[in-house]
Symmetry: C2
Subunit: 346 residues, 2 copies
Amino acid sequence: MILPTISDFDITTAQLAAQRQSVLTKPSGSLGKLENLSIQLAGITGFLYAPLDQKVVIIMAADHGVTAEGVSAYPSEVTRQMVFNFLNGGAAINVLCRQAGARVQVVDMGVATDFENIPGLAHHKVAYGTKNLAIGPAMTNAQAEEAILTGIKVVNHEIDAGLDIVATGDMGIGNTTPSACIASAMTGLPPKQIAGRGTGVDDQGLKRKISIVERALEINKPNPQDAMDVLCKVGGFEIAGLAGVMIGAASQRKPVVVDGFISTAAALIAVGLSPNVQPYLIAAHCSVENGHRAMLDHLHLEPLLDLNLRLGEGTGAVLAFHLAESAVRILREMATFEEAGVSQKE
Amino acid sequence: MILPTISDFDITTAQLAAQRQSVLTKPSGSLGKLENLSIQLAGITGFLYAPLDQKVVIIMAADHGVTAEGVSAYPSEVTRQMVFNFLNGGAAINVLCRQAGARVQVVDMGVATDFENIPGLAHHKVAYGTKNLAIGPAMTNAQAEEAILTGIKVVNHEIDAGLDIVATGDMGIGNTTPSACIASAMTGLPPKQIAGRGTGVDDQGLKRKISIVERALEINKPNPQDAMDVLCKVGGFEIAGLAGVMIGAASQRKPVVVDGFISTAAALIAVGLSPNVQPYLIAAHCSVENGHRAMLDHLHLEPLLDLNLRLGEGTGAVLAFHLAESAVRILREMATFEEAGVSQKE
């Protein structure tokens, strides 16, 4: 599999942004992560004031064989039903995109049902859901490659149509289980510190889920040094696709706002495959899902929002679009000490 | 001093909002604090879908006698200079208000200089700055009353002009010191756990600041059971004014988004004077200023943003306007399980 080259972060432009932040009429550093974000966006895009007009969320949907183990509070058919909800504009992500002025692209990466030719849905089904990772590998190497390359193709298509910043979204009943497997494999932390309640399993359900993650890791023995191996053995098609979106976006110097637990699992895979992706990632929020903080720490990402979200779909990432816009506006529009005639620090 | 009556939080409308959240197409509770916020806004306003069209930040500016002790990294004249920056649209708060579609009202509550009759500036100077609280009371009882009643008057004026939600902003070189005094007095925590670097004093400066706060509390002995006593002895005119804004807004069922360290000190005073104010308050963010988390805990408020802000001006509060809008839109626009034909939890 040949992945696109990712340019180095543009340190020169980032430094110009940092310099400008230091002469704006506020104590240096007092806008905290917003200042860092404006600097990061400059370094990603190569523009002092990163253009952010065209905002897109790519929602990748897929099913998971591991649902046979009873790991989710919702039945599998909800994946398909929610795809229709996205297309009809009724889901949380649609509401937040209308507010943020972002467009939604829904992609079937591996839902366990056939869709008609529906406007707004991109058809890239790799298979009718993954195999049950609790008894063997979730997918073949060929399927993982196909899914990653599809993610790259999908984001390239959006970039051709005009995309300045992308948010990653997911839909897939059962997908906190593969995400927990990936997180546990890549961070080295035990499943009981990583797995959470997902859509809302009870204590019994959580216990079962943890034991499924433990079993999946025992049986499959994914190699943490080999992100492709981890993805094939304990991943999902939407996770693979989102890793591709991240790699594709980074290769074209577009900022990627990473949503919650599932998107961050995809980020672990993306950075495992292409370490140069890391500086192009922006963490939107810290989920209530147990292992999310550890995953963000592993990736050296700091979340912006503290909202106890655990929905996915890209909801947290699209909420963070407002903050990305704030960061660039601050850098562009604030007066300097000199312009405003304000005295500097004594 | 006669304060306006504050109605009880509208539990019936809040319950309707909670009911609706539970049938929208997402796992119940998965939008975390956004769900709570939509419920709170319903209970505050009495409308299931709280109107939020007219957003206003009220920035109150004042000077502080305690700057004579060298507690700030910036000279006092910056208070006046920043007032001009607000009026000219060059400050961070102006940028964020343009993005959020909010208007700015700047109020001179006690800047140590005379302003001409400048369009956009409301003149309510109580005095040319407070007295030095390190050697005696910051203000008289009459001054504190005047400042609080002014805050109520200012917000009422804005409500008459059309205001659906208000953010509190402050400007006053030195004002983290009175805020730390208030926080320490009201929470009972020692100054060294509360005081922070403000606009950016160094280690030596921080030590001095802590000792000033300790001395102010020792000399003035503010009574934590008596918010008025605390305000007079160790407060500030902008802090008193913002407490008035909170009381006035709550009395008219308008939601108040509380900014950072200084605004939260004002909230401690407001809730001390009128405990019914509490349910009308929304905490925007948790500042890096040391004691802010403890103050929020004391008020039973949970912050929404995690941005390491420490600027004031209402910047964090105006950033949170986007989230308030998201909360109401989610409640109003999302499809229910029934409407979307999505299966419920098993």
